[in-house]
Symmetry: C2
Subunit: 304 residues, 2 copies
C-alpha cells in the first residue's frame, strides 16, 4: 500500500499548552510532504517528529489567526540556515501576502531559496494543487476571517500485478506497465489473456479533509462526502455551545454531525480549547453522534 499518513504536530486551540501545540500537521502522500497550518514552534515539532521536513515544498494555511501561522516565518528562516534551495509554496486566504511579504522582506533577506505566496479563493471549492499522486482542493469554511479547509484526494492507483500469472504466460517486463494500466495481453500466437486474470484490483484511492476553524457548516458535507478521514475542529463542548457560535467555532457534537451527514469513514476532532481538564468530554459527546471518532493528540500519526 502506498503511503498516505497524517502526522499531527499540534492540535490545540488558540492557547498552546504543555501538551498541545497550536495547529499544524504534515500529510505524507507517497513521500511527498504537505504541511497544513504552521503554528508557533512548528520547526521544534518538526524536529521532534523525525519527519524529513526539508522535503516540505507546500504549506497550506487555513486562515491568518496567529495560532495557525506564527510558526511560518521562523520555519522559513530556519530552512535558509539549513541551506535549502528548492522553492517553497505557501497557500492561504486573502491577506496572506499583505501580512507575510513584509516579514519575509525584513527577517528573510537574501534567502537561499524562493518563497512564493499564493492567495486562494475561500468562497468556492477549487483545486489549487495537482501532481501524479494527489489533488488538493479548498473547502470553503466560515470563521471570523476568510478561512478554508483543504481536501486531499489521492489519484486512482494502478492495479497490482499477479506475479504468478505474468510468469505463467511468459509476459515480458516491458509490458508490465501496460498491464497495470488495464490492458489485456495478446500472446505471440494470438491468444488474448484478459486483464483481470493478470491483475488484482487497485487499492481504492484515499482522501483526507482538514476543516478548521469554522462554525457548524453542513454545506461542506457534499464536498467531503465519504472521505476516509475528516479532521474537524471541536473547540468546545455542548456546555459552551453559545460561546462556540459567538466565536465562529464548533462543538464536538457539531463536528460529529458533519461527519455523520458527510458519511465519512473516520472523524478526528481537534483544535481543543485549553479550558478542558478532561478532554474526554469532547470525545464522548462526539462519539454519541458518530461512533468512529478519535481525539487528536500531538505526535500521533494516522495511516490511511
Amino acid at each position: 500500500m502506498e503511503k498516505f499518513e497524517i502526522n499531527i504536530l499540534g492540535c490545540g486551540a488558540a492557547l498552546p499548552t504543555p501538551h498541545r501545540f497550536c495547529s499544524m500537521q504534515v500529510v505524507n502522500i507517497r513521500e511527498k510532504l504537505f504541511m497544513l497550518d504552521c503554528g508557533e514552534g512548528a520547526q521544534i515539532q518538526l524536529r521532534r517528529s523525525k519527519i524529513k521536513f526539508s522535503n516540505i515544498n507546500n504549506i497550506f494555511i487555513t486562515h491568518l489567526h496567529g495560532d495557525h501561522c506564527f510558526g511560518l516565518i521562523p520555519l522559513i528562516s530556519t530552512f535558509a540556515l539549513l541551506g535549502r534551495t528548492s522553492t517553497m509554496h505557501i497557500w492561504g486566504p486573502r491577506g496572506l501576502i499583505k501580512v507575510f511579504q513584509p516579514q519575509l522582506d525584513f527577517f528573510c533577506q537574501g534567502l537561499s531559496y524562493k518563497v512564493e505566496l499564493h492567495e486562494v479563493d475561500t468562497h468556492t471549492p477549487q483545486i489549487i494543487y495537482e501532481d501524479r499522486s494527489v489533488t488538493i482542493e479548498t473547502i470553503p469554511l466560515k470563521h471570523k476571517m476568510p478561512t478554508c479547509g483543504y481536501l486531499f484526494r489521492e489519484k486512482e492507483l494502478q492495479k497490482h500485478i499477479r506475479r504468478d500469472a505474468i510468469d505463467a504466460f511468459g509476459i515480458p517486463v516491458s509490458q508490465i506497465n501496460n498491464i497495470k494500466a488495464g490492458m489485456d495481453w495478446t500472446s505471440p500466437d494470438g491468444e488474448i489473456v484478459p486483464n483481470h486474470l493478470l491483475t488484482i484490483p487497485a487499492d481504492p484511492a484515499r482522501s483526507y479533509a482538514y476543516c478548521t476553524d469554522t462554525v457548524y457548516k453542513p454545506d461542506i458535507c457534499k464536498q467531503i462526502q465519504g472521505v476516509d478521514l475528516l479532521y474537524h475542529e471541536a473547540t468546545f463542548s455542548n456546555e459552551h455551545k453559545v460561546l462556540a457560535t459567538t466565536n465562529y467555532h464548533c462543538t464536538a457534537s457539531e463536528a460529529a454531525a458533519i461527519a455523520k451527514q458527510a458519511n465519512v469513514k473516520k472523524l478526528m476532532i481537534g483544535h481543543v480549547s485549553s479550558r478542558y481538564k478532561d478532554e474526554g468530554v469532547l470525545l464522548r459527546e462526539a462519539k454519541a453522534i458518530f461512533g468512529e471518532t478519535t481525539l487528536a493528540n500531538d505526535g500521533i500519526c494516522i495511516k490511511l
Copy 2:
C-alpha cells in the same frame, strides 16, 4: 537577601535544537519580572518554567533577528487571551516599531491591554528604565544590525536592623525605617545611639549584564566593570574564529577575555551554535582564560 534571579529559558543560537530554544531570559528582581529577548516558543518556555509570567511588564529586545524576537507577537496575543489589562512595554533598537506595529495591528486587534513600543539608542549607554529597586541601561554592542545589551544595576539596599539592639534601647517601631536609612537614635533622655550599633551593613547591590549578539567589543568593559554576572554570547569555538568575526559573533575565548578585562565576578556563556555536538569545547576554551565561567542551559535559574 532580596531576590535577584536570572531564569534562562533559551540560550541557543539561530537554530533552535531539541535542547536549546532561541534567546530568552526572565530576570526577577524583588518579584519584578523583566524579560530579555523573546525567541520563538517564549510562551511555551514561560509555562514550563513556573514563572508567574503575567507579572512581566517589560520586555527588552537586543536586536531584530528572528531568533531574538519571533516569540513576541505570539506572547502578546496569549496575554490578551488570558485577560491581561496592565500595559506591556517592549524595548528594542531602531526598527522595532516598523517591524512590530503592523503585526500588532493585524494579529492583536482589540487587545485587552496597551502595548507600548520603545526604540532605544544603541550607540550610547542610556538608562531606559528605573524604579525603586533597579536601573536598566543599554550596552552598545556591534552586530549585523543595531544591537544593544542590557545592564541591570540593583539600587543600594537598606541596612539590616539588629533586632536585639532595637529591643535593648526600646526603640519604637515607627523609627525602624529611619534607622534602616542610616539615622542615629536619640533616646527620650537625650542619649545618642550611633546607627552602627543598631544595624548591620546592607548587602552589596548586585548587577547583571546581558550581552548578545556581538563581535568582540572590549570597549564595553568599562561599563560592565565588576558586575556580579555577565551573560555573554559565545557562538563559536576557536576553530571557527574567522566565521565568528565574519558573522559579527564571538568565540568563547573572546567572551572570556571580556569577562577578565571587565573583572566580572562570574561569566555565563550562551548563544551556542547548534553545530557543536560537544559544547564542552566552548566551556573549556572560556575557562582557560576566565575560570569562573559556566555554560548556559535552558531551564536553569541563577541566584545572585
